[in-house]
C-alpha cells in the first residue's frame, strides 16, 4: 500500500474510534446523570436493565430509535428536520481539535488528536457559536409558542454569555502566547499542579467565569431556561420525538463533555500529571502513552460530575437575573481579569 493510502486509512480509523468513544461517553453520561441525581434526591435511579442498570443507555437508545417519528402538521419541515442535525453536528465537531494525550506519532499520524490546528481554541469557539442555530431554528420551525419562547431565550442567552466565555479565555492565551491547544497544555505541564493555569497561572477567576458561562452556553441547570419545564413544557424540543429528540439530547451531553475537555485543557493542565516530575516516568512505553490519557479522563470526568452535581442542587435562575448576571457581573469581571493577566504577563 502506498504511504498516502495508509495515512488516509489510519486517519479515518482514528476519527471513527474517537466518534464511537465520544458517543459511548455521551450514552453513559446520561446514565451517570440519572444515577447521581437519583442519589441526590434519595432514590436509586435506573437499576433494572443489566447489573446496576449499566445497560440502561442501550435500552434508552433502542426505545428512542423504535418510537414513532411524529411530524406535526404545522411545522416548517425543512428547518424542523435540519435543526437537530445542526445541533448534533456542532456538538460532535469540536472534539476534532481536542488533544487527549501527549503528542505520539505513528506513521505520521498524531495518535491522540484528530487534527492539530494553530487556531484550535478559536475553532472550538466558532463551532459552539454556530451551535446556537440548532436550538434557535428548532423553536422557530416547530411553530409552537413554547418552543419559540425557548429558542428566543436561548439565542439571547447564548450570544450574551459567549462574550464572557470568550473574554475569560484571553488570560490563558496571553500566558501561552498561542491559540494551539497543545501549546496551551505544554505551558502548564512543567511543575504539575503548581503550573496549571487555574493555580500557577493566576486564572482562577477566569476559570469560574468560564465555568459559569459554559453552563449557560450549554443550557444546563441553573441556566436551563431554554427548556424550563415548569413554564415552557419542554422549550425548544416540545414538538420533537423519537430520533430527532434523541439528537438534541445527545447534543446536550456531547456539549457537556466538550466543555469538560476544554476546561481541562485550558485550566487544569490537559493530560499533564498533577504531580509533575515527582513521580518517576514509567519505563513501559504503553504505560507512558496511556498515563496522560488517564489523567485527562479523570479531569474530564470531574467536570462532567460537577455538571450533574450542580444540576441536582441549584434552582433555576429567573430570566432577568440571568441576563443581568451575564452583562453586569461576568463581562466586567472578565475584562478586569484580562487587565490583571496582561499586567502579570507583560514584564516577561
Amino acid at each position: 500500500m502506498s504511504p498516502l493510502l495508509i495515512y488516509v486509512l489510519l486517519s479515518i480509523a482514528k476519527v471513527a474510534v474517537v466518534t464511537v468513544v465520544l458517543l459511548m461517553c455521551v450514552a453513559y453520561t446520561v446514565l451517570l446523570e440519572r444515577k447521581v441525581v437519583g442519589r441526590i434526591q434519595n432514590r436509586f435511579g435506573p437499576s433494572r436493565v443489566g447489573p446496576f442498570g449499566l445497560l440502561q443507555p442501550l435500552a434508552d437508545g433502542l426505545k428512542l430509535f423504535l418510537k414513532e417519528d411524529i411530524m406535526p402538521t404545522s411545522v416548517y419541515r425543512p428547518l424542523y428536520i435540519l435543526a437537530p442535525v445542526i445541533a448534533l453536528a456542532c456538538a460532535l465537531l469540536s472534539i476534532a481539535v481536542v488533544p487527549f494525550g501527549a503528542n505520539i506519532q505513528y506513521r505520521g499520524i498524531d495518535l491522540f488528536q484528530i487534527s492539530d490546528l494553530n487556531i484550535g481554541l478559536l475553532v472550538i469557539l466558532g463551532v459552539t457559536s454556530v451551535g446556537v442555530y440548532g436550538i434557535a431554528l428548532s423553536g422557530w420551525a416547530s411553530n409552537n409558542k413554547y418552543s419559540l419562547l425557548g429558542s428566543l431565550r436561548s439565542s439571547a442567552q447564548m450570544v450574551s454569555y459567549e462574550l464572557a466565555l470568550g473574554l475569560s479565555l484571553v488570560g490563558v492565551v496571553i500566558r501561552a502566547g498561542s491559540l494551539r491547544l497543545r501549546d496551551i497544555v505544554d505551558v502548564q505541564a512543567t511543575h504539575g499542579i503548581l503550573s496549571w493555569n487555574v493555580f500557577g497561572g493566576f486564572q482562577i477567576v477566569a476559570f469560574f467565569i468560564y465555568l459559569i458561562a459554559a453552563y449557560a452556553e450549554t443550557n444546563r441547570a441553573p441556566f436551563d431556561l431554554v427548556e424550563a419545564e415548569s413554564e415552557l413544557t419542554g422549550g425548544y424540543h416540545t414538538e420533537y420525538s423519537s430520533m430527532k429528540f434523541a439528537m438534541f439530547f445527545m447534543a446536550e451531553y456531547a456539549n457537556m463533555i466538550t466543555v469538560g475537555c476544554v476546561a481541562t485543557l485550558l485550566f487544569f493542565g490537559g493530560w499533564s500529571s498533577p504531580f509533575g516530575n515527582l513521580l518517576p516516568a514509567p519505563n513501559n512505553i504503553v504505560i507512558q502513552a496511556l498515563l496522560p490519557i488517564f489523567w485527562f479522563v479523570i479531569k474530564v470526568f470531574f467536570f462532567v460530575f460537577l455538571y450533574i452535581w450542580v444540576r441536582g442542587t441549584t434552582p433555576r435562575f429567573r430570566y432577568d437575573q440571568l441576563m443581568g448576571f451575564g452583562w453586569k457581573f461576568l463581562v466586567p469581571l472578565a475584562i478586569a481579569n484580562i487587565i490583571v493577566a496582561a499586567l502579570i504577563y507583560a514584564p516577561r
Binding site: 498516502l4 487556531i119 463551532v127 450570544v159 459567549e162
Partner: protein
C-alpha cells in the same frame, strides 16, 4: 498528488458561495435568506483558509456566522417576519440598477481574467500562511490608533442600539 485537491476545494466552496447567494435572492422567506447567507459566510471562511488567513477564517465564523447572523435570525423570529410580498420597486432600480450591475460584473470579470497571468496563483504552504501573531504584530504596533478608534465606534454603536431599542416611557 496528481489530483488537484486545492482546485477541487476551491470549486466546491466557490459553488456553495454562489448557490447560497442566489438562494438568498430567490427565497421569499427571510429566515431562508438568512440561512443561505450563513452558508455563504461559512464557505467564505473555508476560502480564507485556502488563502492562508487562518485567524480571519475563525473570526469570520465566530463574528459573522456566530454573532451577526444570530442577531438577524433573532430579529426575524422576534418580529415573526412572514413571507415578503413582492411589490414593484422603484423604476430607477430596474432601469439603471440591473444594467449597471450586469455591466459592473462583466467589466470586473473581463479585467480580472485579462490580468490573470500577472496576478499569479494562490497556493498553500511556502510561507503564505499568515499566523495570528503576524496579524497582531501589525495590528497592535502599526495600526494601534485605528484599532482604538474602532473600539470607540463599537461603544457608540452599543449606546445607539440601546437608545433605539429602549421602550418609550409613557
Amino acid at each position: 498528488m496528481a489530483f488537484d485537491m486545492y482546485l477541487v476545494i476551491f470549486l466546491i466552496f466557490g459553488a456553495l458561495c454562489i448557490a447560497g447567494a442566489l438562494n438568498l435572492l430567490l427565497q421569499r422567506h427571510p429566515i431562508n435568506s438568512a440561512l443561505s447567507l450563513i452558508v455563504v459566510m461559512t464557505s467564505l471562511a473555508v476560502l480564507y483558509l485556502l488563502l492562508g488567513a487562518e485567524f480571519l477564517a475563525a473570526a469570520q465564523v465566530i463574528v459573522y456566522s456566530g454573532a451577526i447572523m444570530v442577531l438577524f435570525t433573532f430579529v426575524i423570529m422576534l418580529l415573526n417576519a412572514g413571507e415578503e410580498e413582492r411589490t414593484r420597486g422603484s423604476r430607477a432600480a430596474y432601469l439603471v440598477g440591473f444594467p449597471g450591475v450586469a455591466a459592473l460584473l462583466g467589466l470586473l470579470t473581463y479585467i480580472f481574467l485579462s490580468v490573470r497571468m500577472p496576478l499569479g496563483n494562490a497556493q498553500l504552504g511556502g510561507g503564505t500562511l499568515v499566523t495570528t501573531s503576524d496579524l497582531s504584530r501589525v495590528l497592535f504596533r502599526d495600526l494601534l490608533l485605528p484599532f482604538e478608534v474602532t473600539s470607540i465606534l463599537i461603544l457608540v454603536a452599543i449606546l445607539g442600539a440601546v437608545a433605539l431599542a429602549r421602550k418609550e416611557e409613557s
